[in-house]
Point group: C2
Chain length 274, copies 2
Amino acid sequence: MTQIVAPTHPFDAAVELVAAESPGVFRGHTSPAYANMVGPFGGITAATLLRAVQRHPERLGDPLSLTVNFAGPIADGEFEITARPTRTNRSTQHWNLELTQDGVVTTTATAVFGTRRETWSSTELAAPAAPAFDEVATQPFPDFIAWARNYDLRFVEGPVPAPEDGAQPDSTSTLWVRDNPPRPLDFPALTSLCDVFYPRAFLRLGRFVPAGTVSLTVYFHADATMLAAQADDAVLGTARAQRFGKGYFDQSGEIWGRDGALLATTHQLVYFKD
Amino acid sequence: MTQIVAPTHPFDAAVELVAAESPGVFRGHTSPAYANMVGPFGGITAATLLRAVQRHPERLGDPLSLTVNFAGPIADGEFEITARPTRTNRSTQHWNLELTQDGVVTTTATAVFGTRRETWSSTELAAPAAPAFDEVATQPFPDFIAWARNYDLRFVEGPVPAPEDGAQPDSTSTLWVRDNPPRPLDFPALTSLCDVFYPRAFLRLGRFVPAGTVSLTVYFHADATMLAAQADDAVLGTARAQRFGKGYFDQSGEIWGRDGALLATTHQLVYFKD
């Protein structure tokens, strides 16, 4: 009898955690497939932290919000995540997370999980206009960005600037994006997608500059039902900066899914040099 | 000889902390002047947490970002804040904060502080159009909202809905706001102002519903020099919701100062019932 084993998606391999002896402690390993220029792609780190809460035996419900603070570089190799519920209410639960390497904190996070119930709903924000996914060409990131090879990226506006493009007056990027190979959307994958926007300073300045996310926040609007409806379809992401100055800028973005459903809103503060 | 002592501003009294014996532990007390319908105004809690970092002897630089998670109700009375530096780099420092009452966590937070240096700057966002502060009438909040009496609130659009106003198609509020009595702007006061927007669901639904902030993030664009230039002038705040659904909505806002300077951007996830 031949046993057919589905190959593990690179994303699942990257966010894989092993429970340690102490409750709430998990061990993981950086994945070369999701490497950034220095250390791992921030999105995969955020997704792995969320995964730690999902794996915790005391976890209540699904994610409502997540804030990840990138405190220091993560070296290639093993890491440990400690997930601690700080308060559990009837329908919400608050989490404190730390990612360490050899006892040194590299990343901290807080998360709110909870159960949802039906209420009045309204999406006040409008999705950006964009041609269909199939009508937009794939535009890969520069080859040295390993993590981007795990995404099919199709820019509608604001692609990664080429040297001849020069400075731009507007920092908006809008792109179709899908895991490569396709993979059904879940909360960790949605988290990772929230960091898929390259630093907005590149676009405004028309060149690559040293830049890195300091703090990333995700508000989850999708529940499990919305994620299931999305399946492995591409999502439409859009992001723009609000202010650049004195070494930092902030960017805000949204991830839109099937039928114009707003799956997540996301914000980050980014360090940059010019 | 008569000694003249300036009366303490209610804001300073509200965010006052006393250092406990253990390093990084501070004791405070809720202030009736900043009470909300249940417990204290979220802005004053956020400001008090920021104040704890400012008071910590190991603090480096000024705030860059702050995320506060409102985990449970804060009872009137004493509380304790523990501020712990999780990582200190050359120019940034990461903080973990917990506010407890009788050992029970009511509020958690993370903050990033740091030093800034001159870089290219650009404010991509446009300030909302508004007549001058002096040309807009003061519109107090309903009388039972104690904290709002410490602010001179002058709505340009989206005032607190009256019963006859009904549901609105747009959740934007824009208002001039100044501490009452006026007080020079500092980082805690700017933090508190980021929560001055009443829940956007009130405006869309045209009625008051149970609502409370779950998680609040502030990105500080102002440094100490920009705050000093602002002095005790009114700031222009604006906020709007992005999506309402299944018991939660998110709102984003900005605080604009003198000469169109963007002082802070802020986002929050809010629980609501309809």
